[in-house]
Structure formats: C-alpha cells, structure tokens
C-alpha cells in the first residue's frame, strides 16, 4: 500500500472531486471507491457567496485527507502563491503541484515545476508533482525535495490510457523505492489495471469516473481493476515471448503412424 511522506494509505485510488453530476453522486462515488485521498482546488469567490462552503462541508463530512491542487497555474509564482493559499485554507502541507506549460495539451512545464517544487519543499510543503514520464525530470524533482512522483500516462481528461507504456515501465524500474502515482489520462478500468501491473503504487482518477454514465458503478469497476492489477504485480506476471511455448506436456505423448 502507498506510503506518502510517511503516511501509510490503504487505498491505491486517489479521487478527484470535479465534474460530477451532483454533490450526492460525488459523495456516493467517494464512499464506493474507498479512496482516502481526494483532490480539491481553490477558485475566486464572489461576495454573494457560492456553493464553496457547502462543497467544503461535504468533503469534511467524508472524513478523508484532502490533496489541494494548483490546477490552472501557468507560472511558478502563480503555483507557489496558490499552494500557500491552499495550505491556509485546507490546513494541510500536502500540495498536488501543477505548473501547466501548454494550453491545449495541459502538459506540465517541467522546468517551472522543478523550480516551484524546490521553493515549496524548502517552505515545508509535501509536494506531489504532476509531471511527465521523463526520468531525468523525475530525478530533478527528487533533488528538489519531492518524495512522491506523479507522471501522466496521457493528457488530462483524454481517457486514452497509457500511450507510452514502455516509458512508464522504465520509470517504475528507475525509481524502485519512490511512491509513484499515475496522474491523468486514464479512461477505463483496464488502463488502471495495466499501470498497477507495471508496479505503480496508485492512480489518481477524476474525469474517467465523474463523466461516466454511472460514476458510482464506474468507480467500483476502477477499484476492482486497481486491486486486480496490484495483485497481479505482486504475483510476478510472465514476460511476453515471441515464440510459442506448449502449455501441455509433450513427454509421454502417444505416437500414431
């Protein structure tokens, strides 16, 4: 089970809280998922008051840990200030650090990400960086103070699943002792099972669950797939072979001529 900054988590499913059809469905999906960590964000509040207070009360009633994000931030300064405001608002030093480098792909600006991660780590934050599957960037993030890495497997919200599975496997092999979470791009439970079979410690889901026709049933499917993938990883699956290998013993076969 994942260990994030010394805190042992019993669920390998981290769940986002955006885009659900209703707060009721969100709450039901969280309960069904068994998730212990929910991602949240912060946005400008109008003086007339919005639904933010009710949303925060709903999250608090679910009795889970929150992982605030810096979604939408495109600069180091924006991300750092947003992280500090999140720490004030949510009362946690955990931060899912996003520094977006491109409007269309929502690809991380990995240079800004490393810089922001260093600033925040030195300020006492426990940083969960949304990054690419680039091993060198991962190394730089660890040097900056991160103790968790969260590579994407495809663009945010794309539901494409692992587009570069070999790179994800190499990432796992290169960082054997670092908690790794696949963040972004998963679409189906089979995708989650696949990355868990690679040995990832957890996945972070949002759109794939929230925008499904039945989010509660979908998160149950994901939860089972994650458990199956993790069990398969622990059971050490066979590596693929190019040639056939008979599964039925050939010794003792009758010979008919």
């Amino acid at each position: 089970m994942p260990d994030f900054y010394g805190e042992k988590i019993s669920s390998s499913l981290l769940l986002g809280t955006a885009q659900y059809p209703s707060p009721k469905v969100l709450a039901e999906a969280v309960k069904m998922s068994g998730a212990e960590i929910l991602t949240v964000s912060l946005r400008r509040e109008s003086s007339s008051g919005g639904s933010s207070g009710k949303f925060w009360e709903l999250i608090r009633d679910l009795n889970v840990k929150v992982l605030p994000n810096t979604a939408g931030c495109h600069s180091v300064k924006e991300a750092v200030t947003t992280a500090k405001m999140a720490r004030e608002l949510f009362g946690t030093d955990w931060i899912k650090l996003e520094v977006i480098g491109h409007h269309d792909s929502l690809q991380p600006d990995v240079f800004g990400l490393v810089e922001a991660a260093r600033i925040l780590s030195e300020d006492g934050f426990k940083v969960f960086p949304y990054t690419t599957e680039d091993i060198v960037v991962g190394e730089k993030l660890l040097e900056a103070g991160c103790k968790v890495l969260m590579p994407w497997c495809a663009p945010i919200g794309s539901a494409k699943g692992p587009v570069n599975p070999d790179a994800l496997k190499a990432y796992r092999a290169h960082f054997p002792d670092v908690p790794l979470v696949v963040d972004a791009g998963l679409g189906r439970p089979s995708h989650a099972a696949q990355v868990m079979e690679f040995g990832f410690d957890a996945v972070l889901l949002n759109t794939a669950v929230a925008k499904a026709g039945d989010p509660v049933a979908m998160v149950e499917a994901f939860s089972r797939a994650i458990a199956a993938g993790h069990l398969a990883y622990k059971a050490q699956p066979l590596e693929p072979r190019d040639m056939a290998v008979p599964s039925t013993p050939v010794i003792g076969m009758a010979v008919f001529e």
Partner: protein
C-alpha cells in the same frame, strides 16, 4: 479608492483587508486571501493596510482533479 478584486476593478473605502471582506459581505470562514500576489493569513488581514491600485485575491474551496 480603486482596488482590483479577483481581477475586477471596484471602488472600496475599507482601510484594511479584514474590513474589506466585511464591506463586501464575505463570509470569512472559507476563504484564503492574497494581497499584491502574496498570501495574507487570516490573522494578518486586520493589519493588511490597503492602498489605491492594490490587487486582492479572495479564494475559496472548489472541486478539483
């Protein structure tokens, strides 16, 4: 004086950030605030003195992925 509050220019008369939240009828409970791009903790809002042209951000919890 004119302040830029959450990206919009508004007239306000409050001397401090805490007073501004009252003037604009914000509920203080679920807010984080920034003054000219720097966090202002809740306990420091009453000593955060405002001047014409200052930029204020007032954020609250929101759904996120």
């Amino acid at each position: 004086m004119k302040l830029i509050i959450n990206g919009e220019t508004q007239e306000a008369s409050s001397a401090t950030l805490a007073a501004l939240l009252d003037e604009l009828a914000y509920d203080h409970e679920f807010l984080a605030t920034a003054y000219n791009n720097e966090l202002v903790a809740a306990e420091d809002r009453s000593s955060c003195v405002l001047a014409d042209g200052d930029r204020i951000e007032i954020l609250s919890p929101m759904q996120g992925g």
